[in-house]
Point group: C2
Chain length 111, copies 2
Amino acid sequence: MASNLDHFFSALADPTRRAVIARLTSGPASVSELHAPHDMALPSFLKHLGKLESAGMVRSLKIGRVRMVHIEAVPMAEAEDWLKTQRRIWEGRLDRLSALAEHLERNGDHG
Amino acid sequence: MASNLDHFFSALADPTRRAVIARLTSGPASVSELHAPHDMALPSFLKHLGKLESAGMVRSLKIGRVRMVHIEAVPMAEAEDWLKTQRRIWEGRLDRLSALAEHLERNGDHG
């Protein structure tokens, strides 16, 4: 049972796709603008774009002859939220461990 | 040129591996404890653990007959930071757009 998070994280597990996302956070761009900085044949680049699009992380729209691509914020936020939740539990645990260490240290002083 | 982020995001692109990470944020666990909630043969489960370990997201240590697994916080933080950076740029852009919209609206009122 593949969830959305599977697709989001899988889409982000590639430097070309992360570069496209990083570019699109500054605003929409055409496919040729997005492709330009990458030393890669267009068909390969389009496969990366397709993976981002099928993960729901970007959307594209043909305006005349130009295909414009824009980012979808929700999947990025969902992936970030998952990581943030794990970090909070983890940090809570570290806080409890450090409180325990302090407690043991104080008791050591008095013992 | 595969970066650490490739491995981190790829490791997180699977529900079993995310469940293991979520369990380990509450503290270390043995391989059998980690395996128990998953309806999956042990060899398949060990492959998932291996992927997390080779991505540097967990470490394991054999204590007597028991292999204990614990989480590594840094990779999680790096993955979260990357997403947070993108969100900040994105939100900055939305703020600028909304400031522009307000400006245009005010000018419309006076025009």
